[in-house]
Each structure stands twice: as C-alpha cells, then as structure tokens.
C-alpha cells in the first residue's frame, strides 16, 4: 500500500492488499508466528469481519488478558453480590451483570430480590445516587484504564454521600509482563489496545519493549487498522527486532491524556491482584487511595463473602488458558455445551469482549 493512499476503514480492496503483504512477510519469515492482542474489541473486530480467514497459514493472532470482565476474579463478584444482599443497590456495567461468582451472579442476586441496576457509565451510577438519597448506591467498577479514568473523575468531583465504589478496576501493562514471562507462552509480538492507549499513551510500553525484546504495535479497531497493525508487527518479526510503534495515530499519542492519567493516579493506587484463571499479578489491581476511603465500598460495608469453593464445573473451565494465549475456546470441553451465553460457566462466555462469547457468536475458525 502506498504511503499516500488514505486508509478506507472498510475497504476490502485495501484489506486484500494488506493480506497479500502478510503472505509475503510470512513467506520471508518461513516459520510459525504467534501474535497476541490484549483487547476484547480487537477480538470482536477480528471475528466480526472474518479477518482470521484472511491470515496466511502459520500466523496465529490470539487473545490475551484483554477483557476486563473476564479477568474479574470470582471473589470480586462475590463481594458485589454480598453488598447487594446487604440491601444496597449495586450498579454495574451490563457486561458484568451475568458473570458468575462462586455461587451466583448479580443477575441471580437480583432474581432473588436484591437491588441491582445496569448502568452505562460511572456518572449514571452517581445520578442514581443523587436521585435516591435514602439508598446506598454502590458502583461495582470494572474495566481497564478506559473506565478507571472516568471512575476516578467521578470520585474527584465530590459525589453524593450515599455513593461508593467497589473497585475491580485493573491495569493492563503488568498483565502483559506476566504473560510474556509465562514459560509455555510463545508470543512474537503484542498488538496493544488502542482504547487503553488513548488514556495511557503508547510511551508507557517503552520499558516493556526493552525488557522483553518484543515488538509492540498499538492498533485501532477498524478491520484495516487491525490488518495494518499485524503487518507492522510482522515486519519487526521478519527483521528480528523489538520496537514500539503507534498504528492508531488518529486517537493515540505518546503521552496519552495527561489530565485523565493524573486524576486516575490521584484516586487509585495499584496492588497485587488475582486475575481470574491467570495468576496473581503484581501492581495490576486498582484500589482507592486513603484520601478517598469514605467512598470505598470495601471499607463502608462489612464484606466477607463466604468462600466455600466455586461451582465444580468452573474447575473444567479453561478461560485462564484462553486469556494467556495457550488455548482457543473450542478446545474447552464446556464450550457450546455446558457453557453458552445464556448459561455461562466462565466470564469469557458472558461479556461481548470475551473470547468465548465472540467465538460463539461469530465462529472462530477461518475455513467457513
């Protein structure tokens, strides 16, 4: 593709040119290549547009720990359920509503009589609190940097006294490090999430590239964006180089949204946290700093969910392996049988950002 030709987001002819370029690069490399993306929206784009059927043999693009709903640990869901069962109204994103905890989901809790509301944003949860001053409104806050920043902005703006946050926010870069270090994960490069990078900036990946000597390309979510980012990554692989590149410059800068970042780090600090099915990850969970303690639902409510073990079926769930790039959804014995979108065993089958849900909806195999 010529340098001057503008990107047409949904132009199959340009996609075909990029696919040819990928063929050439793979022929030069002459061995299997495994790339990892860390965003459910990338998996959505790849599956929804059928992009895997355009990829050359030997090139696999796998989903990493890039769905915030999927990596939310079951005890975190249990905390939200316990708070709802204590009589508070728990407000959360739609994706989170049906994710199973060890015993039940928030949807189950609501069916049992608890008050659970689906909201689209942190500010909608605050509006709910302002409109219902006699009720405790707890925002079960999930998501990576893209949603952590708005949650922080809300807390920074003196929300009502009956509002609090149960933070399950997570921070992606440490998880990428953990996956890169896993001995049985063989990744040749990362396709980094354009959404998160709009907040954090792509510059924060510089130390990662140096430490792990792997290429990282930040990519957008249109089909051409994704193919272009893959092409850039393959060039690094062919040249045997590490490097950092921004293939989504219309949205992402090197420094990111500095004001949003400042607020985010003003409100949140990182602590180690268990990511569902993957590992305990140092510095990957975001909790409220002391000055915001009065809005911390963990401190406001006495939450100690009974831990009597998860549903035995979840022991068979391989979401952890899928999110570490070690397996595909159809390698799971439960996929499409015991585990379906209407009766999910693992969180990956719930969220529209989850690999299993996406594969169930669009199919994952290229040879349709």
């Amino acid at each position: 593709m010529s340098e001057t030709e503008p990107l047409q987001f949904r132009d199959p002819a340009q996609a075909e040119q990029l696919a040819d370029r990928l063929e050439t690069l793979m022929a030069d490399i002459d061995e299997p290549v495994s790339l990892m993306h860390v965003c459910g929206s990338h998996e959505q784009a790849i599956a929804k547009f059928g992009l895997r059927s355009m990829l050359p043999d030997g090139l696999s693009v796998r989903m990493g720990p890039g769905c915030p709903v999927c990596v939310t640990n079951m005890p975190e869901v249990d905390e939200a359920v316990a708070i709802a069962e204590q009589g508070a109204t728990v407000a959360t994103y739609g994706d989170m509503f049906r994710v199973p905890g060890t015993k039940k989901s928030l949807a189950d809790a609501r069916a049992d009589g608890a008050s659970v509301e689906v909201v689209y944003s942190a500010s909608e949860a605050v509006e709910l609190a302002a409109a219902n001053p006699e009720e405790e409104i707890v925002f079960f806050a999930t998501g990576f940097e893209t949603t952590a920043a708005p949650t922080a902005a809300i807390l920074d703006a003196d929300p009502p006294a009956n509002f609090s946050v149960l933070s399950a926010h997570k921070y992606v870069p440490p998880a990428m490090e953990v996956v890169a270090e896993m001995p049985d994960v063989d990744i040749d490069g990362f396709l980094a999430a354009g959404h998160a990078a709009t907040i954090t900036g792509y510059g924060l990946f510089e130390p990662f590239v140096e430490t792990y000597e792997l290429p990282i390309v930040v990519g957008g979510f249109e089909p051409i964006d994704v193919l272009l980012a893959i092409e850039r990554l393959l060039e690094y692989v062919r040249d045997g180089k590490a490097g950092l590149e921004n293939a989504y410059p219309r949205c992402v800068s090197k420094a990111g949204n500095e004001q949003a970042l400042e607020t985010m780090w003003d409100v949140f600090e990182t602590v180690p946290g268990e990511w569902r099915g993957i590992a305990e990850i140092p510095g990957a969970n975001l909790v409220l700093r002391d000055p915001y303690a009065e809005y911390d639902a963990r401190r406001r409510f006495d939450v100690e969910p009974v831990d009597d073990g998860p549903d035995p079926l979840t022991e068979q769930c391989i979401c952890g392996d899928i999110m570490a790039g070690k397996a595909d959804p159809d390698e799971c014995d439960l996929f499409g049988e015991e585990c379906t979108p209407s009766n999910p065993v693992g969180a990956c089958m719930v969220s529209s950002e989850g690999t299993c849900k996406i594969w169930d909806e669009y199919g994952g195999h290229p040879n349709l």
Partner: protein
Amino acid sequence: MTRDTTESDQEFVTLAHGAGGGAMRSLLDELVVPQFTGNGAETGNDTLVGLPELDDGAVHPAGEGALVITTDSHVVSPRFFPGGDIGRLAVAGTVNDLAVMGATTPTALTCSLVIEEGVPTADVERVIESMAETARQAGVPISTGDTKVMGNGEIDGILINTAGVAYVDREQPVPDAGLEPGDSIIVSGSMGDHGIALLAEREGFDFTGALESDVAPVNDLVNVALDAGRITAMKDPTRGGLANALNEMAGKADVGIDLTEESIPVSGPIASAGEVLGIDPLSVANEGKVVMGVTPEDAEDVLAAIHTVPGGEDAAIIGQVTDDHAGRVVVDTGFGRRYLSEPEGEPLPRIC
C-alpha cells in the same frame, strides 16, 4: 431485601427464557409443547401446521379452505416510543404473524387488555386509538376482547394480548420451514430499526431523533410478493432480529444460508447507534419487516414487486440458501466469512 433461598434447589424461569433463542426453545420443548400437542389427537382435530412446528401461526382445515390462527402478548417499555406505541405494536404484530403465514387478508383480531391501576386513562385512550388506526390500515376489524385491571405493581403498566384469524385457501399458507437450496433470501427493508430505536430511547441516549421504530402492518407488502413469485418460507424478524429468524429457518429446513453483509440494508443512523451501543442491528427486533426465501427464478420479480409497496423501497436480496453448513448462517463481510449466530439473552450494552 432478599428472598429466602434456602430451598432453592428448584429451577426458576429467568429473563433468558423470554429472550428467544435456545433457552426459550428448551422451555417450550420441555414444558409446553408435549402437553398441548396431545390435545389434537384426543379431540380428533387435525392441524395442517400445528404447535410442534413452532411457526408464526397454526393452520387448521376449515371446510374447503383453512383457518390460520395466531396470538401474541405485548409488553414494551416505554409504551410510547419514537415511531409507534404498544397499541400499534399489538395490532401490527398479530397482523404480521398472519401475513408471514401467507394469510394477508385477516378476518378478525381480538384484543385482551390488562391494565395496572394508576395508568393514566389518557394513555389508555391513546393506545386504543392507535390500535384502531393500525387495524384500519391493515384492513381488519377488532371484533372481540376483554379488559382486566390489576393492582399496583402486579403487572408493568399495560399488557395487550391480540389474537388473529384468517380464512385462506388450503394451499396458501407459507411455512417458515420450507427453504430449499438455491432460494434467494429477500428482506423487505432496513434491519434493526425497532430494537435499536427502543434501546436508545429506553437508555436515554439522544441520537437527535434519527431513530424510529419501523412498527407497521406488512400484509399488503406480503400480498404483492406472493402474487409476484413462489415464496418457499417466510418470517417476520421480530425478537432476535434477522439473526434469529434466519437461524430458525435454516435449522428447520436443514439447509445453510450464505449472506453478503454489504447487501443487507441497515440505515446509517441505526448502524451508528448500534456501534455506539455495542448492539448488532441484525440481532434486534424489527416490527414492520419480512424475510423470505424465494425460488431463484422468481427472486427479481418478487423484489421488484416489493419495491412498489410503501415500506418496501429498501428491500434487497441479501443471500442464498445452500447445501453447505446446514443449520447455520454464514456472512461474507467483504473481508472474510463468519457466522451470524442466534442471539441469546437480552442485548446488554458493552463496557468499553
């Protein structure tokens, strides 16, 4: 306020059972159909299309001809929405269920009204006026009914049940199970208008008035199509949208369907709102559209005929029926190929 769940070994009906798709089908297969289908044999009454077919209506022999019967209950929030209201929905929904059975001149509708105390009488008046107007448009009388009032909180506002009957020639009914390999798939207009408009309205998203439900009777449009060529199978893509309708049609006929995404009409505002909400316009309800399989040699004639009917201007051939991948719908996106699967559960907005 939690309910005592200590004896919760029981299974409960969930909202997923009401959202169409696999959960609802298993509820019907396990609890409803086996009990009801015994009755026909016991009473000696026969059906040409009966409950086990789970089609849009039943067809019974009646004299030289046949009687098509259908019923539907309507609840919707909000009860007045851009482009329509629950009354229009209740009449159009039943007229359309008859129409896609091939019964385009309905004989009569019934109206069973259940109202929660506290609903403004002005709302009821507006809903009834809308029902009357829509029935006039569809050319059908509403000839019997029933009205109940329930206590506050016992139902949500207004529930309307309508049933419809139509007397037709015995050969006339069109099943939803009749697709044959080679058939062209035609939709009568843009997809997802009702579902996306309602979701945006319900959640308070302002798309500057660009989104309107398509709720309307389609019997005139179907009538013209039936005159123009051989329609092998037909459905109105309501709950679960085009994705649900086509998967059901493919499954029942044990054929595959290949679609070309580019050819599927979706209006610009609906496509944009769908992207913002993270909801696929092909997976949400239409209330004034038809999807049909047409024998290939008649496809262009049927399409041209639909184009002449108000509401059918955007009709398009969107794909073909195939022997491959039986029971599944595959979409060529212009980039690659992927499934269009049956949606499960209520559509929920995504996190980011």
